[in-house]
């Protein structure tokens, strides 16, 4: 479903991703962990080309993103993304945040978009906030709206870029709960996170990144309980 081959990314002389090779199967939940500056967010942002790719290839359902002929906007409709800072549209009501892209990109009618949007808000437990502005929501509520907004495009893949890192501790749970639900429904997910509990419980596979490389990857129980690489051990001893 996602295939990353020899991915390289540099900002000027700074080589952030050195040689990344990953394959994500349909319905798989891949969790990416690692110290800050290891390139895990950049890796995620290369999957939907929010960062231009310096070298290598990224394939989404067989389509090569680095091919100049690829319509990146079309690919992005299949790949939802949730950001650390939520990035809700502050000038639009919650329901309008969710309706906007389906109406403008998928060209569906306002009634249909609203009905779908309300169903998605119900799913994340925020139907009663539909007419509120994002400013009036808590961090956890904002992030749940952001998830609903991404789901409104009916993506096949969801990318999560540290979705709980900007939240107060008591709000982390409600967001992870929504993500767990999604995983249970069979969504293909790539999640960059510091929530090791989530990685263990929900992840099918965990990638440990450091210095622009995937240092180790394994099923969660193996990676957390029997890490093989010294860098993985050092990192886990600090965070667990």
């Amino acid at each position: 479903m996602i295939k990353v081959e020899n991915l390289k990314k540099s900002f000027g002389l700074n080589e952030v991703l050195k040689d990344i090779n990953v394959t994500v199967k349909p319905q798989e939940v891949v969790v990416v962990i690692g110290p800050s500056g290891s390139g895990k967010s950049t890796f995620l942002r290369c999957i939907n080309m929010l960062e231009s790719i310096t070298g290598g290839h990224v394939y989404i359902e067989g389509i090569d993103l680095t091919d100049k002929k690829t319509d990146i906007n079309k690919v992005r409709t299949e790949v939802g993304m949730v950001f650390q800072q939520f990035n809700l549209f502050p000038h639009k009501k919650v329901i309008e945040n969710v309706m906007l892209a389906p109406m403008k990109v998928r060209k569906i009618s306002a009634e249909e978009a609203r009905a779908k949007g309300l169903a998605l808000l119900r799913k994340v437990g925020l139907e009663e906030k539909a007419e509120a502005y994002p400013d009036s929501l808590s961090g956890g509520q904002k992030q749940r709206v952001a998830i609903a907004r991404a789901l409104a495009m009916e993506p096949n893949i969801m990318l999560f870029d540290e979705p709980t890192s900007a939240l107060d501790p008591e709000m982390v749970g409600e967001v992870l709960e929504v993500m767990k639900q999604l995983a249970k429904e069979g969504m293909t997910m790539v999640v960059v996170t510091h929530e090791m509990g989530f990685a263990k419980e929900v992840g099918d596979r965990v990638l440990f990144m450091d210095g622009g490389l995937i240092v180790e990857e394994n099923i969660p129980s193996e990676l957390f309980d029997h890490p093989k690489e010294a860098r993985t051990k050092a990192f886990l001893s600090k965070v667990l």
Binding site: N48, L50, N73, K74, R76, T77, V79, G80, M81, F83, Q85, N87, L88, F89, P90, H91, L100, A101, K104, V105, A146, R149, A150, M153
Partner: protein, 218 residues
């Protein structure tokens, strides 16, 4: 000092005509200047530096030279080849529009750049094109922040329209100077003109404050 109210009364119809033209020049300048300013501001934001260069220099030229020079150039050198003759009102509208467009372009650019990068990324990640993201996400937010500086620019424009008197466009200041020339009086014509300008700028200010408050509560 005697103050000749009777002269002001005598000139009242001219001041009225002049005020109408001043309002006309200002509105034309605001409307055309805003439209051009948006295009030039977006032009300057283009990622290709070579394509952005002409817009950059447009702004440099019109912000970096006196409006008086621009008015004279446009009136005596630019307009005649097009119309076959000079036309003070056309020249004044062209000069005011082109000049304010440069300032408004910078207001647009600053407004657009003040919006958090995450907004564009969120819009693009949903599959919107750059143009859609601008139209539905970035510009509506940027406009709100542009209202105060745009209001400033519009007020400057009303006052700057007085320079059109220089090329004999019969606006407010033109009639003030005519009155001085006829009666050798300074207080009556210029104080009258000053009061009328003040009424115009304060009215605009009042409207803008209301607009700003309404946008803030939305």
């Amino acid at each position: 000092m005697d103050f000749r109210w009777d002269l002001i009364v005598e000139y009242a119809p001219f001041f009225a005509k002049g005020t109408l033209l001043t309002i006309g020049l200002s509105i034309a300048g605001i409307v055309i200047g805003t439209f051009l300013g948006l295009l030039i501001g977006l032009g300057k934001l283009m990622r290709n530096k070579l394509l952005a260069l002409p817009f950059n220099w447009y702004i440099n030229f019109f912000r970096g030279t006196p409006l008086m020079v621009q008015i004279l150039l446009i009136h005596f050198a630019v307009v005649p080849p097009f119309l076959g003759t000079t036309n003070a009102i056309v020249a004044a509208i062209v000069a005011l529009s082109l000049n304010s467009a440069a300032y408004i372009a910078e207001i647009f650019r600053a407004g657009i750049q003040s919006i958090d990068r995450g907004q564009m990324e969120a819009a693009r990640s949903l599959g919107m094109t750059h143009v859609q993201a601008m139209k539905f996400v970035i510009l509506p937010q940027a406009f709100k922040r542009m209202i105060p500086p745009l209001g400033n620019e519009f007020i400057v424009l009303i006052k700057d329209s007085s320079l059109a008197a220089l090329i004999a466009a019969p606006e407010l200041m033109y009639w003030g100077r005519a009155m001085q020339g006829q009666y050798y009086r300074a207080w009556e014509p210029y104080l009258t003109a000053a009061v009328i300008y003040l009424v115009l700028t304060l009215s605009l200010n009042f409207l803008l404050t209301r607009l700003e408050r309404r946008m803030a509560t939305e």
